[in-house]
């Protein structure tokens, strides 16, 4: 989230897209309800299904899954056409005035720079026109200004087109647009709350970006009650994204180096954002080298020196995308030998679970670190598998529970909350980090004894803990924070990190979480005393735990005040300039704290090379502006450009590997399916919890009542739901919560598929895997699978 859970109470309007917070984040949802009950906020829930969120929303719009670019694009068009955007904010805080290079083209669904041979765009083709010094030319009235190109691009997203694509009737859409159109006023603020309903598509990144662009136009980014609020799924998915358990990054969102980068200079040149405006702080770009060197010094200690580029050569440089689906794709190609899974089950997550089962069967070895059996640890005896044919060695290592160790969890709002070790480890269970330490040290010992391929990084990796085989999470938290090697003291701020090898930081965005004064993540000054702990009344609670970066609660908060430093809305200030103290006050400023406002002051978005929010952006792989594309499996051709229906940059793993694509067509699979989650289950682990299994015992699919009528399916009947890749044989829940949509003249039904069951759990008869149905494809930028929009057929059994 750019903001945080409690902050949502400040919104005047809440758009909920690709999310069902009343059911999936019930306690977080209280803050949306608080906005409604305390300030009369309105909530619009756009969802294929009518859910408990819809029931308390002011409007539910039934939207076809995966079409939110058309929805937000229609809203962008409405706001621009009616001149309802926050003009002063847009001109100052966004790149609306930047002029785009004349090479930029968009025709019939294709942007310039596409290479047919590789199926990828050259994103450098989406550039600004520059002036001397390499800075972007700025002229908001230029025909190629970002604002004018934006108007052109979204002029096609009329209410009529929105209806054709999304199924939302024009009059309903215009009702939403009217509410949204008021949010460009400085004294109004809107937030967008979203979850995997936006991410789980081959256009996932652009679905999200279309909402973010709307928010920039309305002046909502950086403001309390505003922002883009991603509701993340798991207890510490945020923390471990920050710590870079992701193929393309290093901790703190540094890029993983690429082949061909010989040294740190090459690396920084190719990774750090360039300064594109005279008034841009470009904080990330300017400090990139300091963060990278501090990280390398943390990892390689004395072996990282100025003479050897701080051991830059030790960092592995991937040849190609090495993300989640790639792991199983490589296994199918016989190139992946072993996989370690920690608290994550590949089989159930898929996509294309049957293909994942084959992939696991191709491995030489599999290691599962988990407290419970999973559909991965047990894959070799899954229904339909013949163990005698499966040569994979499997190691099951029993892990401790969250409550048997301390350490921090980071919630969606970036709040890092330290937890106590409440009980000691049960039986023979071992902490994941002790397992990994043991494995690493044993591997190091084997290299010392036997020699082998390039053991240097393994030999030199620092393990400076009291007991390297059993590091304490407290020691790791200090390492993450970083130290000044000259003084020996822990760092107070990432602003003090250097690139000369005298500072360390395991993750620069967490620098300041554990300074000399102690572990800030342990603090608990909360609602027991709101007057003392929340003096501004804005819900910051700065002394409850610690948020990254620097304990800031709302990101980009310089944009919560105007160019003169006055709050856009004095009732809901983020930061304001206090002339008497000569400081920015309120939240922790996302800006140099003592730099006054003025015409020569740095622009508000200090992390970007532009200094502004990016309406036009070349940081994404499939287009500088979001465009509506159909899901890979779709019932219709794209009304905007039928000849190029799906995004040309989506990655089709089977085709790329020389395997046939297995995509269904509407004649065989006439219905659109979308997967989702229930309140009572958390992915697959809760199949081991009796109380929750009792509440939601059995797998089912949700079938629109009208479709059930057509097919003679009664509530409770067993049905077969099949895609080109697999099937489920489960009970039907017939409901009016799902209905028909009119899509470009056709009636389209959407079927709902909760994900939670599989062949491991208390209710052992529920062995069907929802992800047996989903396609083996990924989004262009993120390679996130298209879990939420695919074609199925359904029949009564």
């Amino acid at each position: 989230m750019t903001n945080h859970w409690r902050d949502i109470q400040h919104a005047d309007l809440i758009l909920v897209n690709g999310a069902n917070p009343a059911e999936a984040h019930p306690v977080g949802f209280r803050w949306m309800m608080r906005a409604k009950t305390e300030r009369g906020a309105k909530m619009v829930h756009a969802d294929p299904r009518f859910t408990r969120t819809s029931a308390v929303a002011d409007m539910h719009v039934r939207i076809r899954t995966g079409t939110d670019v058309a929805y937000f694009g229609g809203l962008i068009n409405y706001v621009l056409s009616n001149e309802l955007f926050h003009r002063e904010y847009v001109e100052w805080a966004t790149n609306a005035g930047f002029v785009v290079s004349p090479d930029y083209q968009f025709d019939d669904g294709l942007f310039n720079g596409f290479d047919e041979a590789t199926g990828t765009y050259d994103t450098t083709a989406w550039a600004y026109e520059t002036e001397a010094g390499g800075h972007a030319k700025v002229d908001i009235d230029h025909p190629r200004s970002v604002l004018n190109l934006l108007r052109q691009h979204y002029s096609r997203y009329t209410p009529e087109m929105v209806e054709r694509i999304t199924g939302i009737p024009q009059d309903q859409f215009l009702e939403v647009a009217q509410m949204v159109g008021e949010m460009g006023r400085p004294d109004k603020v809107m937030t967008i709350v979203y979850a995997v309903g936006l991410t789980h598509h081959t256009t996932g990144v652009q679905l999200i970006r279309s909402g973010a662009i709307l928010q920039l136009l309305l002046g909502n980014m950086g403001r309390p009650g505003g922002g883009m609020n991603a509701e993340r799924g798991h207890a510490n998915i945020q923390g471990n994204t920050d710590h870079a358990i992701s193929w393309e990054i290093l901790p703190g969102y540094l890029r993983i180096p690429a082949p061909g980068q010989r040294d740190l200079t090459d690396y920084v040149d190719e990774s750090a954002s360039p300064k594109l405006s005279g008034l841009a702080e470009n904080f990330f770009g300017e400090n990139y080298r300091k963060f990278m060197v501090s990280l390398l010094k943390t990892w390689y200690g004395d072996a990282a020196t100025a003479d050897n580029e701080f051991a830059f050569a030790y960092v592995p440089k991937p040849a190609e995308n090495s993300s989640w689906i790639s792991i199983y794709d490589q296994a199918l190609r016989g190139r992946m030998e072993g996989v370690m899974l920690s608290g994550m089950t590949a089989t159930s997550i898929g996509p294309d679970s049957n293909q994942v089962l084959q992939a696991l069967s191709n491995l030489k070895w599999l290691c599962v670190m988990d407290a419970f059996a999973t559909t991965s640890s047990e894959f070799w005896r899954a229904p339909g598998m013949n163990p005698a044919d499966i040569q994979t060695e499997v190691f099951m290592l029993p892990a401790t529970h969250w409550i048997e160790k301390d350490g921090s969890f980071v919630n969606s709002g970036r709040w890092s909350q330290w937890k106590d070790q409440v009980i000691p480890p049960e039986g023979q269970s071992m902490h994941d980090h002790w397992m990994m330490a043991e494995l690493f040290l044993r591997v190091r010992e084997l290299y010392e004894q036997q020699g082998g391929k390039y053991p240097d990084p393994i030999r030199d990796l620092t393990l400076d803990y009291a007991d390297p085989r059993k590091p304490l999470l407290d020691e790791l938290a200090q390492e993450i924070n970083g130290r000044n090697l000259t003084t020996g003291e822990r760092m107070e701020s990432f602003a003090d990190l250097l690139d000369d090898g005298t500072t360390t930081a395991g993750d620069w965005i967490y620098t300041g979480s554990y300074p000399e004064s102690g572990n800030q993540m342990k603090r608990r000054d909360g609602v027991q005393d709101p007057e003392a702990n929340d003096p501004t009344g804005m819900g910051f609670y700065h002394n409850w735990a610690w948020s990254w970066p620097a304990n800031r609660r709302v990101l980009y908060n310089r944009a919560s005040a105007d160019p003169q430093g006055r709050a856009w809305d004095p009732e809901r200030p983020g930061i304001v300039w206090d002339a008497s103290q000569r400081l920015w006050v309120g939240d922790v400023p996302d800006y140099p704290e003592d730099v006054p406002p003025g015409p020569e002051a740095p622009l508000p978005f200090i992390m970007t090379g532009e200094g502004t929010g990016r309406i036009f952006s070349n940081s994404v792989a499939d287009g500088p502006f979001p465009e509506h594309y159909e899901p890979i499996e779709s019932p219709i051709d794209n009304p905007l450009h039928p000849a190029l229906s799906t995004t040309p940059a989506a990655f089709l793993y089977d085709e790329q590997a020389g395997r046939p694509n297995r995509f269904g067509t509407p004649d065989e699979f006439p219905y659109v399916a979308t997967s989702y989650r229930l309140t009572e289950h958390e992915h697959y682990v809760t199949q081991h919890v009796e109380q929750l299994v009792q509440l939601q015992p059995e797998a089912f699919v949700e079938v629109p009542a009208a479709l059930a009528d057509e097919k003679g399916i009664a509530n409770g009947d067993r049905v077969r739901v099949s895609s080109k890749r697999g099937k489920l044989e489960v009970r039907a829940v017939v409901t009016k919560r799902l209905g028909a949509l009119q899509i470009d003249g056709q009636t389209v039904y959407q079927i709902g598929i909760p994900i939670h069951w599989g062949f491991v759990g208390i209710n052992s008869g529920q062995h069907w895997l929802a992800n047996a149905l989903t396609p083996f494809v990924g989004d262009a930028s993120a390679r996130t699978p298209e879990f939420k929009a695919f074609l199925v057929n359904i029949e009564k059994m």
């Binding site: 050569a313 899974l341 670190m369 163990p387 043991e438 494995l439 084997l446 958390e682």
Partner: protein, 191 residues
């Protein structure tokens, strides 16, 4: 009807009413001292292990006579600015997760082609796995690619997971796996 009216307790009543109102005598009951299970328990702070709202928990434990520490209760922390003491069904039942008897009791190993697990020792499991890691790394390590670039990557081993363990463990996983040269490093964020 209010509770007070139902009990027929007047303004002077403090809770102990005579038999004539209820049909039995509460006075005796009030003599039986009610002890809360969690009286005298140690209170610790935790965070819910399920979704990313990050509800804070209070955990109550008591050491038993045999030295075993029993987890008695998990409930929402009323001080939290996020959940203000409330929990959803998953968090509210997290005690069952914490003390579940369905946990895997010891390390286990499955041989190629086998139909059953074998229980093994930690030393065996870690020793064998370390050997597999080294062998796979030696077989799939690429020092220089076809263009002569120094890449130092291990292509044949992947690590995935982390959304359910702490940031400190996750950072450690990143550090060690990159130290081994892994490029396939992923967690639930992408899926």
């Amino acid at each position: 009807m209010t509770r007070r009216h139902f009990l027929g307790v007047g303004a002077a009543g403090t809770g102990v009413v005579g038999a004539s109102v209820l049909g039995f005598d509460l006075a005796h009951a009030s003599e039986v001292k009610q002890t809360l299970r969690i009286d005298g328990a140690t209170v610790s702070r935790s965070v819910c292990p399920y979704c990313a709202v990050g509800c804070s928990l209070l955990a109550y434990t008591k050491e038993q006579d045999d030295g075993h520490v029993e987890l008695l209760q998990l409930e929402g922390d009323p001080d939290s600015p996020v959940n203000e003491g409330t929990l959803c069904p998953k968090g509210a039942s997290s005690l069952e997760l914490a003390i579940s008897r369905r946990r895997v009791p010891s390390p286990m190993y499955r041989e190629p082609g086998a139909e059953e697990w074998q229980e093994v020792s930690w030393d065996f499991a870690l020793d064998q796995l370390a050997r597999r890691i080294k062998e796979s790394r030696d077989r799939t390590f690429v020092g220089q690619d076809a263009d002569g670039n120094v890449v130092n990557r291990c292509e044949g081993i992947a690590f995935a997971g982390g959304a359910a363990f702490s940031s400190e463990e996750g950072y450690f996983a990143t550090k060690l796996m990159r130290g081994l040269g892994l490029v396939h490093l992923e967690q639930q964020a992408r899926v």
